[in-house]
Subunit: 337 residues, 4 copies
């Protein structure tokens, strides 16, 4: 950590700060510059409160040198995390394809789609039972009944289930769910993160609409700090000034997360763009960029889907896309040589 | 609602759409243009799913003409909402000043500050017992104990309390709280909004870091749809590319909310900027813009505050500021004449 | 165009508006709704000033149905534009690779790099002679001398040159330049756009840091309105709240531009991210997404480049990347089959 | 400047870097931390290229401690800059009110408005002769003829003129213009900034739509580096995800600029919001925040203005507003005591 002092600081206060830091076991190197004096703090600075130091009268700025996340940090955990779910895995060179409807509508619907996407190469079934909707007047999901339909589809196809948990009161209903999804709007619902940190189930954290990489990793850190190391990251578009697409998909998140963390990274092109005709090119882009997998909306009747119809593919479109994605991944892997 | 059809749409499908809309009781006016045909839908379109229509093959775009919020809409409720809390009120021409520490640290601290801010003109006491912190390793607030200290300060001073609810499991502890605050990160925690919609207590909703005006009003609508009409809006800065300030305070929110809704609007310059020296000029700007009130952080020892020290004022600074704000409001009111 | 009237508008003013519109040769369909009356304007509305209508007392909102760009619009020009430059082409299924140093520093430097990138598969030479630098104290480019060095490299290798024009006073010096680049900061320098619209040379327009798709296409329209139809679009990242990367590369721009316009689209991953280790994954992503080409910075000594060193590849890295990109394009093309 | 080295860097390269820095006359303090070694550079580091150092293999990050602007920096020029224009001044406690039409349309129009706004208290006349318009098909301004009309209005009223320069080829026509305005889209048109840096006329630089405070000040630095110290800053809204208003007015820019620079700061609420009903509340907010002045659009017939009608006030509205603004400034000044 680096503390930049103001020009001509009160020397007594400087000494007070230095003494206080030394008490905390932090070493200090002082550099006297033309305009500012700089204190370089060495040793374990992770317990120091950066805001507290920044608030001092004599301090102009405090700059952190180390990342604030530890469990999620690749520096302290160089090996890729690979998460086994049912008889598939996430990370470690596989291509995870989570496919299914935005909302679970009926047992028939979800079983039909599950069979179709499995035949096309999907490795997991996605589908919403609890739905975060902007309007209180919109369809809110089938809830517990929806989870039962997902379970039926899982029994029929063997596909593990990933579905969203919106509130910790719903946790007891998630027994048969394989991967708990934390939605973008709940990425900083810290009580929810703490609760799933005590579960023995993988957790997939969608990036908040305006979350920085660091904040996203800090949300992973919340889950990991509770003891649950099985965390998956999912980029689903960030909010920018561009309104033609629902959000702006940030594919740089793939190589950046690869460098900063050991956790797997999934891309959701359906929610990112809100337009079904953008799913294929961006899914292809995600695979070429090195993503560990994709989450894709598929609906047997997109025009009558109860929510988010415009961004869903038909099973036949998904079939064509899944084959292209697998071929692309094989081609890209071949180039690594 | 306006439906823009694609160029040369399949006429059979167009007839199908028109028939379906008519069944829903919606009237249709067709305008055949050079490049596109437009359907103008009249009557009660609030039950139509805009996404579903947009997903149809023959549809290029759907544009909504009416706002999706009703209870919060000034069009249907022209009178300003005025909310009584203890012996003060929010809205209706008063200037609400909510002041207090970011985090409650001890009974002595909060009672001392409460007395000071009351003497300076504050009308409510703010203070965090449950704290949303980006890092799991940061101080998370005193929780229930913090609420007890706030209650003590309220008994001592008579100031009503506003404090943040982070999860609905904490609701039973909020008996003595006067205004429930929903934080920016929870603005779209819909289960939490539904829960406070069934309470008989005012709810103050902070604007999400990247929430549009409409999304913010839809969160108010969630609470109001549950029967709780006592909703207050609080602007606390939005996230932009500018990183010198923590967020960018959007003071246009004051007149915009005044026009779109009848609910009171409060400004929080402390969190918006993250710098104590910006609190005064922006608080002055907020009052001149017509805000119903302010939420301001005050700490007796900002440099040792457990969180958010850099944005807190000292009691003596707050005293000077509160007097200026009240004088400014009187001056501005005099000009309305 | 759709005009939404206010609730209970002054009927005389409505009739005035309708009469005025009819004089302009525009047909009008009126839809009387519950809350609002809507006028659907049909016929040629491109000459109507949307702002003027929106300013009327009786008007609540005006919504455009048609795109404001014509020459650049795929609807009126369904065939892809293919631009021949020297013995290469941009668009039409080829993969354009523009490579070279950020800044031209010496004849030796640019000739050396030009030879290397040609050998690796580059189809054009990029290099800055006039450099837009944020600071007046930073190196501003070699100017006319730099153009001479580029010309020497072109003579040596046969690679066509693309380089940035910053001001129309420099235009006479651009005789030997093959493609004029308009930088992101000048995307809305309308006098410059008009000037290059009268040239008989391809123009590549970089997307402004906060430009919407529509504004970007309107800048293309400026050039095309002057008679120059050879316009290329280049996405180089947009400004968002994320500051880890210099900008956020928006790869959705590739399929979106493919749909909205017939002009070729190039991706610049070097400037978008500002980090050389992000160039490869994002260049791969761009090709898989369907881009017509890439602009990539290559420097024989990135650590001593006069500007933008951190985002440059070494020739050996570029060689490996170019081969991968060409193999990827072949693989992707094979899948279209 | 602080250089953070990577974990376990090549020691030979570190010594090479240190030697090179010492040759440049920079002193170095080394702090060996647990995870990283930090070099604190002291002395005159303004000539060091931060990007070049950041590109080195052994370097993880470089953090600047000092601002990159000098002439514009309040640290080196503590006194407020006050700019005299005709018989008025900008800065130094006065309230500058620049008022007039968006576009100059006719001599009668601009003279009529100039007389009206002068009578209401305006201190300068604004009006566009050269207009930056997003569409090549929109009205582009009257150009030289428009400047002549402005001159006529100046002769009639004595009000100094501020008007936009779009290209340096127009500079010879600006003889009678008192303040040259650089538009938001040209904030980083560096050739234009250099050109006005050699003029003996005040220059008002509008903040670019996505420009940071630092970039804005660097544009001021470009002008000042050429010898022209008479620079005025004008905030006119930044681009965010919120699309209800045209831009988001950032009033924190007032106190932030007051601290970082000695240059005067003007607020333009008309362009920032694009809605005339938002001009009054935000203009009031700007004065209360401490702005040196306002730029406000006034039109005698907003509904028929050739451009930007929706954001213009009528003269009678402006009259009421100007009186309120002057009263507010007097009231605020009275509070400073």
């Amino acid at each position: 950590m680096i503390v930049v002092l103001k020009h001509n600081p009160n020397q007594e206060q400087v000494n007070g700060l230095i003494g206080w830091l030394q008490e905390k076991g932090v070493g200090i190197h002082t550099s006297v510059g033309e305009a500012n004096t700089i204190l370089g703090l060495v040793g374990d600075t992770s317990k120091l409160d950066i805001d507290l130091i920044a608030a001092l009268d004599i301090v102009e700025d405090v700059k952190r040198v180390q990342e604030p996340y530890k469990n999620a940090n690749r520096k302290f955990h160089p090996e890729d995390t690979v998460i086994r779910v049912g008889n598939t895995q996430i990370g470690g060179g596989s291509l995870t394809i989570m496919a299914g409807p935005c909302s679970v509508e009926s047992e028939e619907q979800v079983v039909t789609i599950a069979k179709a996407v499995k035949a096309s190469g999907a490795t997991m079934l996605r589908g919403g039972a609890f739905k975060p909707r902007t309007s209180p007047y919109a369809f809110q999901g089938l809830g517990e009944q929806g989870l039962a339909y997902l379970k039926a589809a899982k029994e029929e196809t063997g596909l593990p289930i990933v579905t969203e948990l919106m509130d910790l009161s719903q946790l007891p209903l998630f027994r048969d769910v394989d991967v708990i999804q934390i939605g973008a709007r709940n990425m900083q619902n810290f009580d929810l993160l703490k609760a799933v940190g005590h579960q023995d189930k993988p957790v997939m954290i969608k990036r908040g609409m305006s979350a920085t990489y660091e904040e996203w990793l800090m949300s992973a850190e919340y889950v990991m700090a509770g003891g649950n190391e099985k965390v998956i990251l999912c980029e689903r578009g960030i909010r920018t000034f561009e309104s033609y697409t629902r959000n702006t998909l940030d594919l740089a998140a793939v190589p950046v997360m690869r460098r900063l963390t050991h956790l797997p990274i999934i891309i959701d092109p359906s929610h990112a763009t809100g337009k079904s005709w953008l799913v294929e090119p961006l899914a292809m882009g995600a695979v070429a960029t090195g993503a560990d997998g994709l989450q894709i909306e598929v609906h047997n009747d997109p025009a009558h889907a109860l929510c988010d119809g415009p961004q869903s593919l038909r099973p036949e479109d998904f079939d064509r896309l899944a084959k292209k994605l697998l071929a692309l991944q094989a081609a890209v892997r071949g180039m690594e040589g």
